[in-house]
């Protein structure tokens, strides 16, 4: 009987060990991807810095007021949330963090009489918001762990179009900002209309902006530039989200591995005790048997 228990425990230990191997592998993969994702975040900085600067220079030249992407609407009736989550789970609180934040904002808007539109990025957000009956305008999936600029472009175009057609009056990005591999935070950033302070900026370069020569006119440049600017913002958010996703996954998998280790320790302790028990019982039986034989003789 006792041997049976030992066998069962041995089986469980084996299965936990197999799980541990998987979680360990996932942890290592995520760790190596963080580095790559981080490099991509850094590599994207020059472009977004420069495009911000150019937008700033242009609006300093006084061509901003007529642009639909720059001009806010006096009455905000519908707010669009672009929620950036992962395609896959097993990354701790990464997905729930973004989805909760988005849901909270939507509920707040509802209290104030504004309706919502959700653009779901990542399979998790898509499932979550659709299942709960939110108004999902479009979902983009399949690239969240290593987004390319083409993906950002697609999203940017859709958002710009949605705003220009008047279906939404404001667009907010909800994503997880990557601060370091130890810290990430869920943030919400306005995307469209472009904030006056982002564009105007308190930068010292501002004064020089007015002296630019433009070709073609500042308005024409701004018209092609602003969509690029929106795309660059989306792209930066996507890279941040991807790096955060890997960081979250690494942490989740590390704790899963640690857990498995602890489980294996506990189980082996129980198994060893069971084995010892069964040996002791066996010896007792033998000794008892031998005694009985000798006393008979």
């Amino acid at each position: 009987m006792a041997g049976g228990q030992e066998r069962i425990l041995r089986g469980r230990i084996k299965s936990v060990q197999a799980t541990k191997k998987i979680t360990r592998a996932m942890e290592l993969i995520a760790a190596s991807r963080i580095v790559k994702a981080q490099q991509r975040v850094v590599a994207a900085v020059p472009y977004s810095d420069m495009i911000t600067e150019v937008v700033r220079d242009l609006s300093a030249a006084g061509s901003s007021s007529s642009m639909p992407l720059l001009a806010g609407r006096s009455e905000v009736k519908n707010v669009c949330y672009v929620a950036l989550t992962a395609d896959r789970g097993l990354c701790g609180g990464y997905n729930t963090g973004v989805m909760r934040a988005t849901e909270g904002e939507i509920k707040k808007d509802a209290l104030e009489g504004r309706s919502h539109t959700v653009i779901a990025i990542g399979r998790k957000a898509d499932g979550y918001f659709r299942f709960r009956g939110y108004n999902v305008a479009k979902s983009f999936t399949g690239f969240t762990d290593s987004p390319s600029y083409a993906n950002a472009k697609e999203i940017g175009e859709f958002v710009t179009e949605l705003y220009a057609s008047g279906q939404v009056d404001r667009v907010e990005l909800v994503y997880t900002r990557f601060i370091s591999s130890g810290t990430q935070e869920v943030v919400q950033r306005p995307l469209v209309p472009l904030e006056a302070e982002t564009v105007a900026g308190g930068d010292a370069k501002n004064a020089a902006g007015a002296d630019y020569e433009f070709e073609p006119s500042p308005e024409a440049i701004l018209e092609t530039l602003l969509p690029r600017y929106v795309e660059a913002r989306v792209y930066a958010a996507m890279l941040n989200a991807a790096a955060s996703e890997h960081a979250f996954r690494q942490r989740a998998m590390k704790s899963a591995t640690d857990n498995a280790e602890e489980l294996i320790n506990n189980l082996s302790r129980i198994m060893n005790r069971a084995r010892q028990d069964s040996i002791t019982t066996e010896i007792m039986e033998i000794v008892g048997g031998a005694e009985a034989m000798s006393s008979k003789n």
Binding site: R40, A43, A44, P46, Y47, S48, M50, I51, E53, V54, D57, L58, S148, Y149, A152, K153, A208, D211, Y212, E213, F214, E215, P216, P218, A220, I221, T224, L225, R228, E231, A232, Y235
Partner: protein, 135 residues
């Protein structure tokens, strides 16, 4: 053109990375309505939107860096030229044979149907061919 001894700090930046960075004496590119334009050190502050074009960067060491820039912006100051483009290719990254094949295919397509997309693709192909020294 005031300081002929000066150099231009040239950067070609795409959203994904800094494509090219170096010192140059002259940069030639093409703006949307204005045609080709050359920048020398000491140029007045300038901001332009670019078409698909073959951009030439004359490096300080005498060599020329050719590249195909497909739309984008150029920002110029007395000592720097910055090209922002979501699609730019350096000469050495372009596969000449493949591009020529694409051009033939696109021209073939254009004969049968008119499409702005194919025309834009053809303009990009032309820029690539020009950047690799053809045409």
């Amino acid at each position: 053109m005031a300081e002929s001894s000066g150099v231009l700090r040239v950067e070609v930046v795409s959203p994904e990375r800094v494509l090219f960075s170096g010192e140059s004496t002259q940069v030639i590119t093409r703006t949307m309505e204005g045609g080709e334009i050359a920048f020398l050190p000491g140029h007045a502050a300038f901001l332009g939107a670019l078409t698909e074009n073959h951009t030439r960067i004359y490096l300080s060491d005498g060599t020329i860096q050719n590249l195909a820039v497909h739309l984008g912006f150029v920002e110029v100051g007395p000592d720097h030229v910055t090209i922002l483009s979501d699609a730019a290719e350096l000469e050495e990254d372009i596969d000449v044979a493949a591009v020529r094949a694409t051009k033939i295919r696109l021209e073939e397509q254009l004969r049968t149907e008119q499409s702005a997309e194919i025309e834009a693709e053809l303009r990009r192909t032309d820029a690539r061919i020009a950047a690799t020294g053809g045409l």
